[in-house]
């Protein structure tokens, strides 16, 4: 329904947006036909993703049998998906509002390092795991606020501001860790975040909570509604009384906070803080968000789609590993999936808008 937001490739429709008379010339019955057509909208897209996920499941079962289709392996896939999943939830908000955050992977690394320094761990031994978690979240949030202020008030293009943060945060992480891996020795932390709860890894539960909270925030609150509006038409949002700059700042802060949460999960999974943690995760997150159906140009976002996108990539990765396939093949497939998903999206939106 938001086809006008796919700009470069459908210039004719972009014209429609600006010229009321052009829109007026569009015959009315078309609208009815479009609504009755192929299951458009978010539900239809999500259905497609579920089908894709099912296909991966069937292929996995046929090629790797019980090794793939087991409860244990499902938990492995979910754990794999969780860290990137939390990053992707934050990324969904930023992209829905028409922005981008390239720094989340590096910020994850920085937060994981900062939360495991000797000083932090010594304090955590004394006061409990909350010190490490608080440290990781504060680092994530802090980096996000810096991004947000640069972009919203400094008028730096999001791509550039977060690219700078990506490089700088990685450098700072290396400096703090001195390029060594810092093992987590705080028992209260490992006791709290490692292991299972009701048969499901605790970090998967964290992902579930973040995803549900993200869904509520995007679909059921003024914050979410305004995020979509800012992504659709920032000028209209401003005229409607929305403080667009402040809102933009919050969005990057949110993405940073998500990176902080993901850092805690990473520490729980690997029990080590390292400056290389989270390398290229930002790209995985962006891929999952876009495949999930959120428009890269902004104006439409879906948390359910993002979760499905994350699960697709995680199960695909697992599928390749279970079949002992080279990781290079996996990367090529991943690239192909991104392209196919975007092409399908455009095909559907173009078709639906031309009747």
């Amino acid at each position: 329904m938001n086809e006008q937001k796919v700009p470069a490739d459908v210039p004719a429709q972009v014209e429609d947006v600006r010229e009321p008379d052009a829109a007026a010339r569009r015959p009315a019955p078309k609208n009815g036909a479009r609504r009755a057509g192929i299951p458009g909208g978010t539900a239809g897209r999500n259905l497609g993703l579920v089908v894709a996920l099912a296909v991966i499941g069937v292929v996995g079962y046929l090629t790797a049998g019980g090794r793939f289709a087991s409860l244990d392996n499902l938990m492995v896939i979910l754990s794999l998906a969780s860290v990137i999943g939390v990053l992707s939830i934050g990324m969904t908000f930023v992209i829905t509002a028409g922005g981008i955050d390239l720094s989340v992977g590096s910020v994850l690394g920085l937060a994981s390092v900062w939360a495991t320094t000797l000083a932090t761990q010594t304090m955590a031994d004394q006061y409990g795991w909350i010190i490490m978690v608080g440290c990781a979240l504060a680092v994530g949030l802090g980096a996000g606020v810096v991004n947000g202020v640069l972009i919203a008030y400094g008028r730096v293009v999001a791509f550039i501001a977060t690219l700078a943060m990506m490089v700088a945060a990685r450098g700072l992480a290396e400096l703090i860790a001195n390029r060594r891996t810092q093992i987590v020795n705080v028992d209260s932390f490992t006791d709290t975040f490692r292991g299972d709860l009701l048969g499901v890894p605790k970090i998967v539960w964290i992902f579930v909570v973040v995803a549900v909270a993200g869904w509520f925030l995007l679909n059921r609150t003024t914050f979410g509604r305004r995020t979509v509006a800012v992504g659709g038409n920032p000028e209209a949002a401003r005229l409607a009384g929305i403080k667009v700059r402040r809102h933009t700042m919050y969005l990057y802060a949110l993405a940073g906070l998500a990176a902080g949460i993901a850092a805690v999960m990473m520490l729980a999974r690997t029990t080590a803080g390292s400056s290389t943690n989270g390398s290229f995760y930002e790209l995985d997150a962006i891929a999952a968000v876009v495949v999930g159906g959120t428009l890269i140009a902004g104006g439409r976002g879906t948390i359910v789609g993002t979760v499905l996108g994350v699960l697709i990539f995680a199960s695909l990765q697992n599928l390749f590993i279970q079949n002992n396939l080279d990781s290079s093949v996996q990367l090529i497939t991943k690239g192909a999936i991104i392209v196919v998903a975007v092409l399908l999206q455009q095909r559907f939106t173009t078709r639906s808008s031309t009747g």
Partner: protein
């Protein structure tokens, strides 16, 4: 014509210059509740400038603005809104990607607890659209699939959320088809019947004669005649717009 004695909005001697260009000089305008006043004039006559002053987008260099008889200043759009002045500008400022309800309530969403109260917003949106006798099929239609006339309806409906005293419409029928224009004109009549004061800025004399109670002509930033819609002939108004007559000659 139902007229209260105190005008809902009263402008006296408004001046506005942009650098060396005098856009408005000594303009007077009164609008009463339940009255549609058409503001007409050629391009660059100062119509939109006056509308922007009323909307709080521009501030006048001199002159007095009264709302319900009280002198006010309108330094910003949000002050205008709190004074009960709602404006619909030529670029409608809607979010294409949102539906009708979402656009109506953008920036002033209703909430129940922490979450959006969709049901209440939907009900109220239907109510407002019905009061405008609108033909938008569903309040959940995305604005991107609406016609230009329907978009205009949404923009007008949005002004009604705050229950304004005065609605300013800047060229609402420009670039609309005949049937869409008729639809929008119906909305304007609905606005008047709901007791709002309406300023209609337009080039289109047919529209103006169809809905306006009074026609105020601006020429080169000055008042150039006031006509009661019933009494004025088309030629007289056109003459005032183009300057073929002096205001004293046609005072109506």
């Amino acid at each position: 014509m139902r007229r209260s004695t105190t005008p809902a909005l009263s402008l006296h001697g408004i001046d506005k210059a942009f650098g060396p260009v005098q856009a408005l000089s000594g303009v007077d305008l009164d609008v009463h509740a339940g009255e549609v006043v058409a503001l007409v004039g050629d391009n660059a006559a100062g119509k939109s400038t006056l509308a922007k002053i009323v909307a709080g987008v521009l501030s006048p260099d001199a002159g007095l603005i009264e709302v319900d008889g009280r002198p006010v200043t309108i330094p910003s759009a949000s002050v205008a809104r709190s004074l009960g002045i709602a404006s619909v500008f030529q670029d409608l400022a809607l979010c294409e990607n949102l539906d009708v309800v979402q656009n109506l309530y953008l920036g002033q969403e209703l909430r129940r607890g922490r979450s959006l109260d969709e049901a209440a917003m939907e009900d109220r949106a239907r109510e407002i659209l019905r009061s405008l006798t609108s033909r938008i099929p569903s309040v959940r239609t995305p604005v991107s699939v609406l016609s230009a006339g329907q978009r205009q309806t949404v923009a007008i409906a949005r002004t009604l959320l705050g229950d304004p005293r005065l609605v300013v419409l800047d060229e609402p029928t420009a670039s609309l088809s005949v049937s869409q224009t008729a639809e929008v004109l119906t909305h304007i009549e609905s606005l008047r019947d709901l007791g709002h004061a309406v300023i209609l800025i337009s080039h289109n004399m047919t529209d103006v004669r169809a809905v306006a109670d009074r026609v105020e002509v601006l020429r080169h930033g000055r008042n150039n005649g006031s006509f009661s819609s019933a009494g004025a002939s088309y030629e007289e108004v056109i003459a005032a717009i183009t300057g073929a007559s002096r205001p004293t000659a046609v005072a109506g």
